[in-house]
Each structure stands twice: as structure tokens, then as C-alpha cells.
């Protein structure tokens, strides 16, 4: 097991050490700020690397507009057979070499990284070196304090009141960000579901409350460093999702309709003198500005839906 994970330990600890070296001139070598920011740096780096994937997914989601008529046809044809419906849908995507779904692998791939980080940070607490985090670095990290709590300590592993307070606050932040992110997505970001999905909606609601609870329960075992990592990554997810929901929402979701209304209003104001249709002036933009054009081009879709 260790031979598989060693490269990951090296990677995780290496990145942390690099950030630590970069930040040492600013905050000092043994400062908790340096170590905390180094962990956050790791998060930011991972999430920045993942941005292109995210953008790619969003783009192919929006490119789906062209397939809308075929998708409608499939939905109508297999109205009563959801399995057949999704099967045909996947066939369609494959045919057109576009797929709006995010794919499973990136999420699975992040798990070992998180696990390695957990091991590396736990190693600090137990004085066990992993990867590049050894020797003087290990000693320096072990004494580093985050708001007065050692980053290697956990809620259950320490009797220090400061550690308890800091971990509880971090666990709270962790749970709260997970909760708001999920809620935001459910309320605004997802296409409205038909009644056949009620069961799923129900489960989503349960999970909305259960997930933060699970975090709270498991969080008491996590060292402060891991909690910092998790909180930062949650903040990032939330911010990224907020941006997408505001600027480029999934077609069919409440946020999308909101944006459509806003754009329509704006377009109306802009074209009052020309008294042209709203769609006309947006068409030239299709060529110039891919993303904006895509979204605006979709304005036609609701009309098509109504006709059919």
C-alpha cells in the first residue's frame, strides 16, 4: 500500500514544502500562518488545475443547445421508460461527440490525494515523516499554531481547550459551507425535476442535512491541518458554483430562467429604438464571443419547446 501511496505523499508534502519555502520570507519559518497558508496553497493549486476540466464540462453542457430538438424527441418517444430514455440520450451524446456530464474519474482521483494529505498531516502529529515533510520541517510543522491550536492536533486527540475551540469552529465552517453549496445547487442550479424524480429529490433533501452531520462526526478525528484543507476546498467549491450559477447557469434551472429574464430585459432596453426582436441583435455575437453567444443563443429554445 505504501509503495502505491509514496509518490502521492511526495507530491502532497512537496507542494506544501514549496509553498512553505515561498512564504517563509513573509511570515517566518515556524509561523503557523506559513504552514496554514501552505496547506491552503495546496488546495488552490489542485483546484486551479481542475478548472480547465470544469470549463470544458460547462462548455459541452452549453453546446447541447444544438441537440435540443433531438433530445426532446427522445424524451417524448420514451416518456414512460426512463432507462431507455437515458440510454438513447447517451447514444446521442456519443454520436455528436459531446457529453455534458462531468465524468466520474476526477472525483475518484481526488480521494487518494485527500487520503495522502490526511496521512501526511497525521504524520506531523505522530512525528512520522512522509515524503518531503521530514527533519526540521516536521519539527517546525509540529509546533506550528493556527489561531493558537497546533495544526497537527485534533479535537479528540487533544485536551487543550484552544484546540477544541478551533476544531469546532473549523468543523462548523466545513459543515456550513457544504450545506450552503448543496442547497444553492438544489434551489437554483438544477433543472426542475418532474414528479417521477420525487424520490430522488427527497433523498437529496435528507442528504442536505445528513452530510454536514457526517462531517461533524468524522471531523473530530481530523487534525486542524486537514480541517483547514477541507474548509478551503469547500469555500472554493462554493465560490466556483456561485459564479457559474450567476453567470452561466444550467439550462432549465431556476437560475437560468432568472438570467434569461434579466438578459431579455436588458436587450429590450438596448433595442428599444430599433424595435427589432430580442434575438436578432444577439446573433452576430455568436461568432465573436463563444460562451456569451451560446447562452444568448439558447433564448430560442424556450420558444421551440412551446411549439412542440
Amino acid at each position: 500500500m505504501n509503495t502505491i501511496l509514496n509518490p502521492l505523499y511526495n507530491l502532497v508534502s512537496g507542494v506544501i514544502i514549496i509553498f512553505h519555502k515561498l512564504l517563509t520570507p513573509v511570515f517566518g519559518k515556524d509561523s503557523g500562518v506559513t504552514w496554514a497558508l501552505s496547506i491552503m496553497g495546496l488546495v488552490v493549486l489542485i483546484r486551479i488545475i481542475l478548472i480547465p476540466l470544469f470549463v470544458k464540462q460547462i462548455k459541452s453542457q452549453r453546446a447541447l443547445t444544438a441537440l435540443q430538438p433531438q433530445m426532446k424527441a427522445i424524451q417524448a418517444k420514451y416518456k414512460d421508460d426512463r432507462q431507455k430514455q437515458s440510454e438513447e440520450m447517451m447514444k446521442l451524446y456519443k454520436e455528436h461527440k459531446t457529453n455534458p456530464l462531468a465524468s466520474c474519474f476526477p472525483i475518484i482521483a481526488q480521494a487518494p490525494i485527500f487520503f495522502s494529505l490526511f496521512t501526511v498531516l497525521n504524520g506531523i502529529a505522530k512525528n512520522v515523516p512522509h515524503g518531503y515533510l521530514k527533519g526540521e520541517y516536521l519539527a517546525s510543522a509540529a509546533q506550528a499554531k493556527f489561531f493558537g491550536a497546533s495544526i497537527s492536533q485534533s479535537f479528540l486527540g487533544s485536551s487543550d481547550t484552544t484546540v477544541k475551540i478551533v476544531t469546532v469552529i473549523l468543523i462548523f465552517i466545513m459543515s456550513a459551507t457544504t450545506f450552503t453549496t448543496q442547497r444553492q445547487l438544489m434551489v437554483k442550479g438544477m433543472p426542475k425535476m418532474d414528479s417521477s424524480n420525487n424520490m430522488m429529490l427527497q433523498q437529496q433533501k435528507i442528504m442536505l442535512y445528513l452530510f454536514p452531520l457526517i462531517f461533524a462526526i468524522s471531523g473530530v478525528n481530523f487534525p486542524v491541518g486537514v480541517l483547514i484543507y477541507w474548509s478551503t476546498t469547500n469555500f472554493w467549491t462554493w465560490g466556483q458554483q456561485f459564479y457559474v450559477i450567476k453567470r452561466n447557469p444550467t439550462p432549465g434551472s431556476p437560475a437560468y430562467e432568472e438570467l434569461q429574464r434579466k438578459r431579455a430585459r436588458k436587450a429590450k432596453l438596448d433595442n428599444r429604438d430599433q424595435s427589432g426582436t430580442v434575438i436578432d441583435p444577439t446573433n452576430p455575437e455568436l461568432g465573436q464571443n463563444g460562451q456569451e453567444g451560446d447562452v444568448k443563443g439558447q433564448r430560442k429554445q424556450p420558444k421551440k419547446k412551446k411549439k412542440r
Binding site: K56, R82, M89, M90, N99, L101, S103, C104, F105, Q203
Partner: protein, 82 residues
Amino acid sequence: MRTIFVAAINFYQKWISPSFPARCKYYPSCSSYAASAISNYGIRGVGMSLWRLVRCNPWSHGGVDYAVKPLKIAQKTSVGVN
């Protein structure tokens, strides 16, 4: 052993997966694929499932891909929506 794997997948499908947006590029989803692969092929199914997860990456186009030919799995384990 197979039952444990399949039970874990069913748990994931029922409780964990619904709280995230659909993400699998294939039909059936990776988890449905894994459930049927493992219950039909055992340890080989585990390998198949892992390979399917790797294939379900940002550069793939997805599509329809059954672990077992559809005729055999008329009595499916669970309906994975994503």
C-alpha cells in the same frame, strides 16, 4: 463478498449519489455497471469497474456500455440515474 460490494454500491446509489448532480458519461452509470459486473464476474468485475471509472474521464464521450449484455440483466440491481 460480492454481496458486500453490491450492497455498498446500492448504498452509494441510494444515499450518496442523489445529493450530487448527475455526472456519469455512460449508460448505465459507473455504479450500475460496477454492481452488475461484480455480481456477474466477481473479482474480474472489480477490475472491469475500475477500468470503467478510468474511462469515464473528461476526455471520453461516454455512450452506452453494459458490463453484461442487456438480455442477461433484465432483473437489474438498481436504477442508477446518474
